[in-house]
């Protein structure tokens, strides 16, 4: 496609505006990574199955490979780069480190954004419901044991904040 067919949009990622020109077909995941340079969001399948690309758009965890960048124009987007407050980690990041909830780290940003997005909306979600939520993303390294532990511990910390 020619550049003339690109659309000018603004993505607000972690509080910062990125004015970019994208083809209408460009996914939000590609735009975040390539046009905005925020490579912490990873792409694992581009089919909406694995959840590695999960980001929070207007408070909702979504698969950024299943949303077009133009659909996110003007919306508030949060990615893994925006979780920590300066050098102070978000409780969920700290919990993943404390409970060995990651190995290769490729799926980790997606799990962090999924867990944080859901727990901000539903801080008192039951353990069973949380397991359902976590089963929407894939991890190939951890066998999920320590992700579940980490998210439960992180949820507790988030409630105490």
């Amino acid at each position: 496609m020619k550049p003339s067919q690109r659309v000018n949009i603004t993505l607000t990622i972690n509080g910062r505006d990125y004015a970019i020109a994208v083809e209408p077909r460009r996914t939000l995941a590609d735009a975040i990574r390539e046009d905005c340079g925020q490579t912490g969001t990873h792409i694992g399948c581009e089919h909406g199955v694995c959840g590695a690309c999960t980001v929070i758009v207007e408070g909702e965890p979504i698969r950024s490979c299943l949303m077009f960048a133009v659909q996110a124009d003007g919306k508030k987007i949060r990615t893994v780069e925006g979780l920590a407050d300066g050098e102070t980690l978000h409780p969920m990041q700290q919990a993943f480190m404390d409970h060995h909830g990651l190995q290769c780290g490729f799926c980790t940003p997606g799990f962090l954004m999924l867990a944080v997005g859901v727990l901000e909306r539903e801080p008192d979600i039951s353990d069973e419901e949380l397991l359902d939520v976590l089963s929407s993303n894939l991890c190939r390294c951890t066998g999920y044991q320590n992700i579940i532990k980490a998210v439960r511990a992180g949820a507790k910390e988030m409630r105490h904040r």
């Binding site: 990873h42 199955v49 990651l102 490729f106 397991l131 894939l138 320590n146």
Partner: protein
């Protein structure tokens, strides 16, 4: 942010300190290959047919396309084995004349963006006249089957045969013979990060840097330099953060060779990231095996002989560097497992087909042979009316060292103890009572055990025994202390999720007397790390850890000499710890940073007695050490739907000394989850024409958090004389035991219906088909 916690205990080794890798990975600061920008993007055009002759390949006007005809002077990938009747089949970097599997790279399209490259690739028209394809390896053995490669008539590419002396007499004296046919379907390792490569030309030096998702950076450099006929010093290979590998990223991808060729020829940068479909159809596959197994038992249910015929579907080509012999030959060598069996006859064949090339995947054959052998033990237990624990108790080896029927030497281990630990956790009598009650309510529970031992951390002698043209095995580490007191270890292993930076730092910390956060580990860069073989075969902590310990001991010795000189005390009175050198029984001490600075800047004071600098090299090339474990699964089967739910999963394992128990547990968890996927869910399905029907993660099904039960884990730590750090390897074990335990549990649950399943994965469809045939309504 604190990267580690100081636990209890006198040493850093043995503590569950937090991983030094994690702060970057949880904040989005990890650096993966696909994060790099490039001037050009590459898209591969792949064969849509399993077998055929290439007529023409036409690209749209103005497109930049590369085909085999452009690659004059580029050699094919041709790994070699000098034993086992191996036929050296070759894979061209891009298909030349013929195609041999769906997904084989036919051409590369290059454009300024990924989207453009994909658009152009979609318009490329390949005129291929399809020829008869053969998909199943037993079909490929039939005399009428078309040969996949002219060099391998009959399609057998490798064949191992073993028969111990006196086998026939032992066999003929058997009280009972138990026989079994097993089938393991094909899998894909499915790392969450698909393969990715980025080759960039440096105009200043004329060198190319290939950044790629590999487990073996140095051998990738050697292989590509050989194939392209370039000096190795013109190529730098970097494995940055790698998003899981599990073996799939240890074999050489032809795509990486092409990226380097493009960067050299066009003096620019070229990137390729495969999509998930490419990964599922054209990255390496594994586990596609038939095993016919028979066991001869005496009257006391003691196994006296094993007879096996192993047929492995190796796909269309042979993977580099191991060759496709890796699956059948490892199956042959290690099938007798943890049992005392003196007589063994085996034939193991690797058979070519028109399917994606097979390569090592976590466990390499052991998940399949353990599944076969443990099914045999359960069948024999039934025949002898013994419980599954008792028959294993009677047959497990319990005196070490033990030399197997195939000549392997098992070092100190705990086969029987781990069985008893698992049995205690299961509480078999209580389970049988519960099972009986549940059956009365039409609920079907089952328990299954799997005992196994696993060769880990083996050096060059073990690889040499296979006759590999390239004999990997040893490792080197260089440990240095800089003038400011920071410690760096440069290692040839190449971790990608295993936490090796942390565990190596723990090993060094104890030797040198500094905390692990003062230690940085450099790996995955051929310009900075010493030549090494990378990370695979549960070897890194044993061999890389041993080399690191050897180097750290030399650094320690030198620090002691410098301290002795500076503190004017006898070397034997110097103690290193907490970042300083102390003279025992005095208050005299010096920070290690001061000793290090002295080693560089005040060498004249040593009067020639101590060499300048503070960097030492260690190498390690051990014979190999065997980890062991017993897994147990408790399942419930819904006989109306064929759904299998895991209720409990138990692991009692022994991988020697645990350097970091938290990381060790994580390795077992991950392996078990992959093993459960292997047993129940994951299957690459080909149709009869060789097309893959499972090319998304909605069809190929790695387990989610819902399918994996809490894993109950217990460790023993039997020290091995074959490991400098006393640690044995444990990266693969979880994946080795779990499939057998789950399938045994499933069979236990199905026993009242008189059906038996010896095929993996045991999907609901397969379970229901058996039950339907047995007259059980859905």
């Amino acid at each position: 942010m604190t990267a580690y916690t100081k636990g209890s205990g006198a040493t850093w080794v043995g503590r569950s300190i937090r991983r030094l890798e994690d702060p970057a990975l949880v904040t989005g600061r990890g650096r993966f290959t696909g994060d790099l920008a490039a001037a050009h993007w590459v898209r591969f055009v792949r064969s849509p047919v399993a077998s055929g002759r290439i007529g023409s390949i036409k690209a749209p006007p103005g497109a930049w396309i590369v085909t085999a005809g452009d690659l004059a002077g580029v050699k094919p990938i041709r790994p070699m084995l000098h034993k086992f009747a191996y036929r050296p089949v070759a894979q061209p970097i891009l298909a030349e004349g013929v195609v041999r599997f769906v997904g084989e790279p036919l051409a590369a399209v290059i454009a300024a963006s990924r989207e453009e490259a994909e658009d152009v690739a979609d318009q490329v028209i390949a005129d291929i006249s399809a020829t008869a394809a053969v998909i199943d390896c037993r079909a490929a053995l039939e005399t009428t089957a078309p040969p996949i490669h002219a060099q391998a008539p009959g399609n057998v590419v490798v064949e191992g045969i073993v028969k111990t002396p006196g086998f026939d007499d032992a066999w003929n004296g058997a009280y009972q013979v138990v026989a079994l046919e097993t089938r393991s379907r094909r899998q894909n390792a499915t790392p969450l990060e698909p393969r990715a490569g980025h080759a960039a030309f440096d105009a200043t030096t004329g060198r190319v840097t290939l950044t790629c998702a590999t487990q073996m950076p140095h051998l990738t450099r050697t292989a590509i330099a050989d194939i392209l006929g370039m000096p190795e010093n013109q190529l730098r290979v970097i494995a940055p953060d790698v998003g899981g590998g599990f073996g799939q990223k240890m074999s050489l991808a032809p795509e990486y060779v092409l990226l380097v060729w493009l960067a050299r020829r066009h003096k620019s940068s070229f990137a390729w990231t495969e999509d998930r479909r490419e990964n599922l159809i054209a990255a390496f596959h594994a586990r596609d095996q038939y095993i016919s197994l028979q066991g001869a038992f005496d009257a006391h249910a003691k196994i006296i002989a094993l007879k096996a015929d192993i047929v492995t579907n190796v796909g269309a080509y042979s993977c580099y560097p191991t060759t496709c012999g890796v699956e059948p030959l490892m199956a042959m060598a290690e099938l007798p497992g943890p049992y005392d069996v003196r007589h063994y006859e085996c034939r193991a064949r690797g058979v070519l087909t028109n399917t994606c090339t097979m390569a090592p995947y976590r466990g390499v054959s052991r998940p399949v042979i353990t599944f076969a052998l443990e099914r045999l033990m359960d069948k024999a237990a039934k025949r002898f009316d013994l419980d599954p624990v008792e028959i294993r108790r009677r047959n497990l080896i319990d005196a070490f060292p033990y030399r197997t029927a195939t000549g392997l030497e098992y070092d100190q281990a705990s086969y029987r103890q781990t069985l008893e630990m698992a049995a205690t956790l299961v509480d078999l009598p209580a389970f049988r009572a519960r099972q009986k009650q549940a059956r009365a309510q039409n609920r079907h529970l089952g328990v299954g055990f799997a005992a196994f031992c696993e060769r880990t951390g083996y050096g060059s002698p073990a690889f040499a025994a296979r006759g590999m043209d390239i004999t990997p095995g040893w490792e080197t580490a260089v440990v240095s202390v800089d003038p400011s007191g920071f410690v760096e270890a440069r290692v040839g292993t190449s971790p990608h999720g295993q936490g090796l930076r942390t565990t190596l730092a723990q090993i060094i910390a104890d030797e040198i007397g500094v905390s692990p956060d003062k230690v940085s580990i450099v790996h995955g860069d051929t310009d900075r790390a010493p030549y090494g073989w990378g990370t695979f075969a549960s070897r890194s902590l044993v061999i890389g850890g041993g080399a690191t310990l050897a180097a750290a001991r030399k650094v320690r010795a030198k620090l002691v000499r410098i301290a002795s000189h500076m503190l004017e005390a006898a070397p034997e009175d110097i103690l290193l710890g907490d970042g300083e050198a102390r003279v025992a029984g005095t208050d005299r001490s010096l920070p290690i940073a001061v000793l290090a600075r002295e080693a560089y800047t005040q060498t004249h004071r040593f009067k020639g007695e101590i060499d300048p600098g503070l960097a030492e090299q260690g190498t390690y090339d051990p014979p190999g050490t065997f980890s062991n474990a017993c897994h147990a699964a408790v399942v419930e089967v819904d006989i109306e739907t064929g759904r299998v739910k895991l209720e409990r999963f138990i692991v009692a394992e022994d991988a020697g000394r645990l350097i970091n128990p938290m990381i060790a547990d994580g390795q077992v968890h991950g392996g078990v989850a992959q093993g459960i996927g292997n047993a129940l869910f994951e299957e690459i399905v080909y149709d009869e024409t060789g097309n893959i029907l499972t090319s998304t993660l909605a069809d190929y099904l790695p387990p989610t958090a819902r399918e994996i039960p809490p894993i109950e884990l217990q460790h023993l730590e039997t020290a091995s004389p074959n490991s400098l750090t006393q640690a044995k390897g444990l990266g693969e074990g979880g994946a080795i035991g779990a499939p057998a335990a789950v399938i045994n549990a499933l069979n236990d649950a199905l026993a009242p219906f008189g059906v038996e399943i010896n095929e993996m994965p045991a999907t609901p469809q397969r379970i229901r088909a058996l039950l339907r045939n047995a007259g059980v309504p859905s």
